[in-house]
């Protein structure tokens, strides 16, 4: 059972389907070939996320895959999507999503996660995330300036 969640809580009525449905999440190559007005695309760790640029205005969902929970390339993909490409749509963490990486995902601009790990689902439902609200790096999520030095932030 895959649980979908974002900072507001569980996601109901998610429009995205598997490959056979009417709103499939496509591979990068398939997305680049697609004429659909609204595209969902999954970025694998070895993909170059910047290739989405020409179709970005039609992309409504980018799923960034963590095939192993410790494959950290998706953190860079999300960062580039937000900071380099200026992407404003939904970024979803998929794959081996575990509780302790979710705060980091949120900080790089991943808005939602798809989770199968039961203890993670429980804690997300309780809205009890193990993050730290003080950051030593500028962030893409809303923060206030952290006191003292330019690189610090506090999550709001």
């Amino acid at each position: 059972m895959t649980f979908l969640w974002n900072a507001s809580g569980p996601i109901e009525n998610d429009p995205w389907t598997d490959a056979d449905g009417d709103r499939p999440i496509l591979s990068l190559e398939a997305a680049l070939q697609s004429n659909a007005a609204t595209i969902g695309v999954q970025i694998e760790p070895a993909d170059d996320v910047r290739r989405l640029e020409p179709i970005l205005d039609r992309v409504a969902l980018v799923a960034v895959n963590f095939p192993a929970f410790n494959d950290g390339r998706a953190f860079s993909h999300a960062t580039l999507l937000r900071q380099r490409l200026g992407y404003r749509g939904e970024i979803r963490g998929v794959g081996a999503v575990l509780l302790d990486q979710v705060p980091l995902m949120l900080r790089v601009g991943i808005d939602s996660v798809a989770v199968t790990h039961e203890p993670t689902i429980r804690r997300l439902k309780e809205q009890r995330l193990p993050g730290i609200a003080l950051h030593y790096q500028p962030s893409v999520i809303p923060t206030t300036d952290g006191e003292g030095y330019s690189w610090r932030r506090r999550a709001v």
Binding site: S76, L104, H135, Y136, W151
Partner: protein, 555 residues
């Protein structure tokens, strides 16, 4: 030194609470060991042969006496009464209980210490010259920049799951005492013609299975671009570093396989987008952090000159200790004192709780309360008046801390090895002890002069054997231990990887082999002023091979 403000304190407190929660979930089985392992590693908790090991961060090797006393307290309360100082300027405890670690971290937090990112596939402790802020040849103190990098790299959301560990070192003198060319990123602080501070940036150094010397990819990076440029390097590494093979995952392999020109082009292309963003360092921030490292007020103590001469005349042991362990300070009335943690026949780098307390007291009395940890597993008191050297020395003698061997053959670097470490193939500490005992006589050490022996118990090279003048690598062969010797390594500004001399030596023969090498050197050196490393670079491996294996054949 740097002092936490409220933000830093709240952050570390948050980290302690986070780890406490993670330990609880682990003990309840809500996190598997596989998922927990990177979390505990990012809090410095290893599992070794006999017990857990906790590696505590000592940022750029700088400690206050108060902090050192806390380390003594932790050794007593939670461990077996001693700790081990490491080749990355950190400290390790060998017997903590996992269940106690959150409390240990809370105690550390009370003195502005932590164990954040001392392990794991993230950015590790940023190390620096242990004589920073005191050495006469320094362009500027590198530690403010190490502190900026420390903060910026702490729980960086993009770079917490890198392909592999990432180590940064920074030096600020032509004589590189921080071994920057053996690091993933090495920074050489310098000034341009206009007197502005910037960095030579080296990338792709490292030891382990495939030792490599870092390449200079940018000759002068202006100070304000430090964070943006490092971000560019880290992003390219995070995206393109290999993740298919743990032994090919460091950035040195990426440099090697991509080619340094092409990789530099990729880094510079990424940097173009980052160059003038919110990662630019404001001068005011640099100035504010630099203020924490302002040189201490050092009173003139010219009476020390005469006193020192008299003491040296009266006590040859003291004279020898000054000669070997005290180096000139920027202020002529002061010296930089190395406290040897290499007693003859002892365990390199270890200190008992009583010794830590003693050093803290001596630091308060004679050294403005500041201590440094070196990557050669010794301690340093960087600011000691010459007029205080003799009473300091007496204090050190009383606690077995006055061995006059800094830089000499018995000042051995050794990893914990198979006595402790789950990664090891062979023991390293007994080898160090035996070599130390064999060469322990002061006259013999003085005769031999500067000779850096470094011993690793496995290919991970935590003992830095690749850059030892004599390196010893312990391997496993046919169920037993075997020791391979390398010669001619160096970790300074002329970094070189040692050359394997031939087939390895059994434990009972390794010390004799070292003695053969030393005797060969003594016989062929041009004068006592030609140190072993220079002699080796002049004559090559051949004379040593012949001596070890016979003239007819080598390996």
């Amino acid at each position: 030194m740097y002092r936490y403000d409220e933000f830093d304190r709240d952050f570390v407190a948050g980290r302690v609470a986070q780890f406490r929660d993670q330990v609880e979930r682990r003990l309840k089985g809500e996190i598997s060991e596989d998922a927990f392992k990177p979390l505990r590693l990012m809090n410095g908790v290893y599992l070794q042969l006999h017990a857990y090991m906790l590696r505590i961060a000592i940022p750029y090797g700088t400690l206050s006496s108060r902090q050192l006393r806390m380390l003594a307290h932790i050794a007593r309360k939670y461990d077996r009464g001693y700790g081990h100082f490491t080749t990355r300027q950190n400290i390790q405890f060998n017997w903590p209980k996992l269940a106690d670690v959150p409390d240990i971290l809370a105690d550390l937090a009370s003195v502005e210490m932590h164990s954040i990112q001392t392990s794991g596939n993230c950015i590790r402790n940023v190390t620096a010259d242990h004589f920073a802020g005191a050495a006469a040849d320094e362009v500027a103190d590198p530690r403010p920049y190490a502190e900026i990098l420390r903060q910026w790299s702490s729980i960086h959301p993009e770079f917490s799951f890198l392909p592999r560990k990432f180590k940064i070192a920074i030096t600020a003198a032509e004589n590189d005492r921080a071994a920057i060319q053996t690091h993933d990123i090495g920074l050489h602080l310098k000034k341009n013609a206009a007197g502005e501070i910037g960095f030579g940036v080296y990338v792709g150094g490292g030891q382990g299975r495939t030792p490599m010397v870092a390449k200079l990819i940018r000759d002068f990076l202006p100070e304000k671009h430090l964070l943006s440029y490092i971000t560019a390097i880290m992003r390219v590494y995070n995206l393109h570093g290999r993740r298919d093979n743990k032994f090919k995952a460091r950035i040195k392999i990426l440099v090697h396989e991509t080619g340094v020109e092409e990789l530099t082009r990729q880094i510079d292309a990424e940097w173009e987008h980052l160059k003038d963003t919110n990662l630019t360092l404001p001068e005011a921030d640099v100035a504010a952090i630099t203020a924490y490292f302002a040189p201490p007020e050092l009173k003139d103590r010219a009476e020390g000159w005469g006193q020192l001469a008299a003491w040296k005349k009266a006590d040859p042991d003291f004279a020898r200790w000054v000669q070997q362990n005290v180096r000139p300070h920027r202020h002529p009335d002061y010296g930089m004192v190395t406290i040897s943690l290499k007693p003859i026949g002892g365990i390199p780098g270890d200190a008992s709780d009583a010794q830590m307390d003693a050093v803290a007291d001596l630091a308060d009395e004679f050294a403005l309360g500041e201590i440094r940890v070196t990557h050669e597993q010794n301690l340093v008191l960087p600011h000691v008046a010459l007029a205080d050297l003799e009473p300091l020395y007496r204090g050190l003698v009383a606690h077995g801390l006055a061995t006059a061997n800094s830089g000499l053959i018995t000042d051995i670097i050794a990893c914990p090895g198979l006595d402790y470490c789950a990664l090891a193939n062979a023991r390293s500490i007994p080898v160090a002890q035996e070599i130390s005992t064999r060469f322990g006589a002061p006259e013999r050490q003085a005769e031999i002069g500067e000779l850096k022996i470094k011993i690793s118990g496995c290919i991970n090279a935590c003992g830095h054997h690749h850059v030892g003048h004599i390196g010893i690598l312990g391997v496993e062969k046919k169920g037993g231990e075997l020791y391979q010797i390398t010669l001619g390594g160096s970790a300074d500004e002329h970094t070189s990887i040692g050359e394997i001399v031939g087939r390895g030596f059994e434990p009972e023969r390794i010390t004799d082999a070292i003695e053969t090498i030393v005797d060969t050197y003594l016989a062929i050196r041009t004068s006592p002023d030609e140190i072993f490393l220079d002699c080796y670079r002049r004559v090559g491996a051949e004379p040593f091979r012949s001596a070890l294996y016979g003239a007819a054949q080598a390996a």
